[in-house]
Amino acid sequence: MSYSNKVIDHYENPRNVGSLDKADPDVGTGLVGAPACGDVMKLQIKVNDQGVIEDAKFKTFGCGSAIASSSLVTEWVKGRTVEEALTIKNTDVAQELNLPPVKIHCSVLAEDAIKAAIADYQKKRGIAPTVKADTIKGDRRELVSKGVLKAGL
């Protein structure tokens, strides 16, 4: 697989690898993917009282582009509000990393990981969820049929 320099940079020097305390009420944890599919992402965010994501950590089991996609979104969500973080789209990730078509699903997973982490945080704090859980947990074909994802991704 030939990757862009950005993927290789994120893969070789991943940003924000690690874990936050998942019992902390300010921390939201998203775990998406499945081992049988070859990629699992865990994304954690720590949100302050102003609703700003002040820290983010990830751990990823997956190929180079899955690791790069998760590393990139930890950088992107930091300093954003929860609402702003939810505007990050998989296409932004794919474009930034110049992912080959066969690796687009890695960027989809990264977007899902953000949504899942925020949903977990909101649930913990008793905030009405911005994104419905079923749009995160459904499989890809289902997401396409609902118009959440573009076909071909």
């Binding site: 893969y11 991943p14 070859g38 990629d39 089991f61 180079g64 899955a66 690791i67 499989d139």
Partner: protein, 404 residues
Amino acid sequence: MKIPIYMDYHATTPVDPRVLDAMLPYFREDFGNAASKSHAFGWRAEEAVEAARAEIGKLIGASAKEIVFTSGATESDNLAVKGAAHFYREKGRHLITCRTEHKAVLDSMHRLEREGFEVTFLPVGKDGRVDPDDLRKAVRPDTVLVSLMHANNEVGVLHPIEEVGKITREKGIAFHCDAVQSVGKLPFDVEKMNVDLVSLSAHKMYGPKGVGALYVRRKPRVRLIAEQDGGGHERGFRSGTLNVPSIVGFAKACELGRAEMDEEASRVGALREKLRRGIQERLDQIIVNGSLEHRLPGNLNLSFAYVEGEALMMAVKDVAVSSGSACTSASLEPSYVLKAMGVGDDMAHSSIRFGLGRFTTEEEVDYVIELFVAKVKKLREMSPLYEMVKEGVDLAEVEWANPH
């Protein structure tokens, strides 16, 4: 030590310098067409080809007349499987093979299915081997061909060819064996094994790419319908001008393989064991895929649990290996060979194939051990699965989101 290190000997092997030396005159002064019967250029080429035929035959216990030259093992597999099925179609329409065969055999079988043949794809055990009893049970009165490889290209596992050969001979069924990965590395004897058709490839045994052979038994005679029409070369089995320099190189590779087999098999086998132990002793949850006992000396196929294969290959880019992970292919399906052996998708995604061979050194093995241990540790630090397991989570019990 030269970087990168080559440990992908199942994909191809470097040409042995002695093989290249043998080939060179046939590009220069002895460039004749072996089919030119009217002058000395043709005669010399023909002489070289006939000597090569004998040399290649000797390696597998065959006579020169039983060797048909091809462009490589894919062609040999196609010619053997389709050629025999087509010849014997009036006798019967049932064929038997195995789920872990090379695509050249599997896809030939699938084409024959579309033509109206019935094919039984035998399962393999966890060790990667076909059970001869399963084969015996699969045989029908209308079975005309069995195709089973000697050594598997992914896991290096050896099938019980001799036992299968007894069954096919007893039942009068033609037996094809793709022996590409094993010939020149382990003993292979068409008489002892009762094999009727054998696919060989030069570039898997330190010869050049683009040349191979099909052994076609004469006694008892096995028949084929040629796939390629033309000048009737190779007793009508395979038309086309012979690739003389490569055939000469192929024969030299066979001669070297025969002379050095025992010494090389034990040396390469010891290096493979050093590599396996070096990794398994220093990392937990490293699984060997397939039988260690019935295996090519130079093959090691490991699953590095909780680490994805392609990511690992990126981390060890100084070492040329291959992975059964889907991420290395366009298909997004992990290795069908590992799947047939009952290896879970998660572990198939984590698999790496090491192929050691003639030019692998102990220094290289030491380097590879150190590199893999360091990189797997690093990737496990980054793996949510490894973290969960260390926390006592049973991954099989987790309800995973986003299955795709």
